[in-house]
């Protein structure tokens, strides 16, 4: 049976409505012109409209089949208020010849209700949506058809009537889902919207007549699709830091492969080379029919020339960044770093890891005058048989890894306390201190020891640890 899925304004005036049988409609209006519904085309048009709406708010969610949600929180000031925003929005939409209704409210549910059943262009004042919703029909609350039919059957014609029913009986009678819808409209329940992410314009696609699956084919395709995208980047003078290839398989699955660059780039051969080792992990299944690539973190880069007379710094970067890329993509991002000072007295916190080609940090560099070990153990190692003349003296002898070391010279103590200003004040304890000593044993071995805790507390006597070796 054919039914009307949409009607024009004129047809509406003639009494036709959505869901009406096509034959009935023809009987009412014999000169009715019908066209086949195209839901896919409608969805695509709605998506295009959603992307167009990004000019009003970065967060646009599609409400299929014919609605859009715009989160305008914090953007209305650009139009000096919500009224200005709505006026501009209506003007621009009307210029496109689109019929529409819209409303602004605190919650998506209330906005939907006002746009569909309320006054067109309504703006609910903050917290005032309940008043505006009261006279609307219950259908405005996006109930499922069964609930909606039951509510109508019970003779309730207004949302206000529903709002006056106590919550318990309401939920029992109409179900939890209906309760949630009411709460969402009134802002007592949050509603998650799926905002449409604007697609990256840096996208390229390769489709094949026959599905491919051989590893060498994948490698060639990876190169070709990268070259296609890089040519476009090149034409605009841009480069990207991150590339992702998706291999779309015949069975509908997609296998992603991603590479990152230390500096934005667009050298297809180099990027394809970074992809190459990762293609082994791609399972082509029954074959790959489409390969797509997207570039992210796209930034302008100058077309650097590897010239002999170029400045020294430029040459350093040209040579280093491919090396860093190879290492990072092979070993992982956390395995290649440049040590960077962090302003902290706690030794293990004093070194941060920075990206090898990133900017230098502004933190104060490490003090060169205070001796620090060449090797710092991640976990300090306990010392045994520590002998010290007096509690505050450095040890005269200690055993570490089963070997006795007799201390010949020592420096210290250097007291390093807890960074009490960073944590919870209740957890701070004066006994959380370490007294560090630099000692040298009879053979010349130099060690960094510390005593944790203070003497005087019988329950927790201080312990000795070895934290690093100077060499």
């Amino acid at each position: 049976m054919r039914r009307l899925s949409a009607v024009s304004e004129r047809a509406h005036r003639l009494g036709l409505h959505v869901g009406q049988k096509a034959t009935d409609a023809m009987a009412l209006a014999p000169d009715l012109v019908t066209a086949e519904a195209q839901p896919e085309a409608d969805a695509a048009a709605l998506a295009a409209l959603a992307d167009w709406c990004v000019r009003f708010s970065p967060a646009v969610a599609i409400d299929a089949p014919d609605g859009l949600f715009l989160d305008v929180t914090g953007v209305d000031h650009l139009w000096s208020g919500e009224a200005g925003l709505l006026a501009d929005f209506r003007k621009r939409l009307a210029a496109n010849g689109l019929p529409f209704r819209c409303a602004i409210a605190d919650t998506p549910g209330a906005a939907w209700a006002l746009a569909h059943y309320g006054e067109d262009g309504a703006i609910a004042p903050p917290g005032g949506q309940a008043e505006l919703l009261k006279p609307l029909r219950p259908a405005a609350l996006r109930f499922d058809p069964a609930t909606w039919a039951q509510i109508e059957r019970l003779g309730m014609r207004q949302v206000g009537q529903l709002m006056s029913i106590p919550r318990g009986p309401f939920a029992r009678r109409f179900g939890r889902a209906a309760m949630i819808r009411l709460d969402q409209a009134l802002g007592r329940e949050t509603e998650a919207l799926t905002f449409r992410r604007p697609p990256s314009p840096w996208f390229a696609r390769l489709a094949f007549a026959e599905p491919i699956s051989a590893p060498e084919d994948l490698a060639r395709v990876a190169h070709d699709v990268t070259a296609q995208l890089c040519a476009r980047l090149d034409a605009k003078g841009l480069g990207a830091r991150r590339f992702e290839i998706l291999f779309h398989r015949v069975d509908g699955q997609a296998a992603p492969v991603e590479v990152g660059l230390a500096l934005p780039g667009r050298d297809a051969a180099r990027i394809a080379k970074l992809f190459a080792p990762k293609l082994e992990a791609v399972d082509p299944g029954f074959g790959v029919e489409v390969a797509t690539i997207t570039a992210e973190s796209v930034e302008p880069i100058s077309g650097r020339q590897a010239r002999l007379d170029a400045g020294r710094e430029a040459t350093v970067e040209e040579g280093l960044s491919p090396l860093i890329d190879r290492l990072v993509n092979r070993l992982g991002e956390d395995r290649v770093w440049r040590a960077q000072p962090v302003e902290s007295h706690v030794p293990e916190l004093a070194v941060g890891r920075a990206r090898p080609l990133g900017k230098a940090s502004d933190a104060r560099p490490w003090e060169r005058e205070t001796p620090r070990p060449t090797r710092l153990f991640r976990r300090p190692e306990p010392l045994e048989a520590v002998m010290a003349l007096t509690p505050d003296d450095p040890p005269t002898q200690f055993r570490w890894r089963g070997q006795i070391h007799r201390v010949r010279r020592a420096e210290g103590p250097e007291r390093i306390g807890e960074e009490w200003w960073k944590g919870v004040i209740e957890d701070v304890d004066v006994s959380h201190v370490r007294d560090y000593y630099r000692v040298e044993d009879a053979d010349g071995g130099r060690f960094w020891l510390f005593r944790a805790g203070l003497y005087g507390d019988a329950a927790t006597p201080p312990k000795w640890w070895l934290h690093g070796v100077f060499g």
């Binding site: 004093a350 053979d443 060499g471």
Partner: protein
């Protein structure tokens, strides 16, 4: 020059010619990439060309406990590589990430030129070293591996020659690991064994003096072996640190020659200098 020495000179010249020919044969027609002199005649005399050969790789090992921690070899390598870090980046390939940048900075190593890489296994560490050595802008690469066999050594050497970078291979055993059989042959230009040595604070001062190392040159292609006591004289001083300065003294200062011939006390550096000069 007196007359009787005049008869010896041709013979010495002949020796020099033969030495040069041997060096050329050993180099296999490679170009000479220059040397990094220590600035102490006793050491430079043992090394071919009067200094640590650049564009080659050097092997540095530790002794006793240091086989596992390799702190003294690391400190010594950082001191040797510090002059090279003024010319480009230094890549340090680790197996355990316990190398601590503040410590290197204190020794006078420009840590802002240091890139650290943590490899997952021995083979990966060696291949990262190779990769880094062949990169423009990298002047030195330090790698901490257990051992490099002849093939790996040759590959490192070829990588060094590509961009004239200098390699330092610190021999380090994983914690608790069994000692593997040491590689018999080696393509390294020099092989050093480094141990910490007791420091000597200036008279009337407490605490520790500048770090001292006992450095044994166990093997040296085209040169002689030797053993010395060296001191990082400028360690833990802020004044000695300026990346822009290019003509600075080598951070390691010779304190005493520990070779077979002598047992000179630590104070007699000047006497040794006079003898050598």
């Amino acid at each position: 020059m007196s007359d009787f020495r005049g008869q010896i000179v041709p013979r010495e010249r002949g020796l020099a010619t033969v030495r040069a020919q041997i060096a050329a044969l050993e180099a296999g027609g490679r170009a000479d990439f220059g040397v990094l002199p220590f600035g102490a005649a006793e050491i430079d005399a043992c090394l071919p060309g009067g200094g640590l050969p650049l564009g080659r790789w050097h092997e540095i090992g530790g002794a006793a406990m240091e086989v596992e921690t390799a702190a003294a070899p690391a400190a010594f390598t950082a001191l040797m590589a510090a002059p090279l870090a003024r010319r480009g980046e230094v890549v340090w390939v680790l197996r355990r990430d316990d190398l601590w940048a503040p410590g290197l900075a204190g020794l006078g190593f420009p840590v802002e030129r240091l890139i650290q890489v943590c490899a997952r296994d021995e083979a990966e560490a060696l291949s990262v070293m190779e990769d880094a050595l062949a990169t423009v802008g990298v002047s030195a690469v330090v790698g901490e591996v257990e051992t490099a066999d002849l093939t790996a050594g040759r590959r490192l050497q070829l990588a060094c020659e590509k961009r004239r970078a200098t390699g330092f291979l610190i021999r380090r055993r994983p914690y608790g690991g069994q000692a593997r059989r040491e590689a018999t042959g080696s393509a390294a230009a020099t092989r050093w064994r480094i141990a910490s040595a007791p420091s000597e604070p200036p008279a009337g001062e407490f605490g520790l003096g500048a770090p001292r190392f006992r450095a044994e040159l166990e093997r040296c292609r085209g040169g002689r072996t030797g053993a010395w006591l060296l001191e990082a004289a400028q360690a833990y001083e802020s004044s000695a640190y300026d990346l822009e300065m290019t003509d600075v003294a080598h951070p390691l200062r010779l304190v005493a020659d520990l070779g077979d011939r002598q047992l000179a006390p630590a104070q007699s550096t000047q006497d040794l200098r006079r003898l050598a000069g």
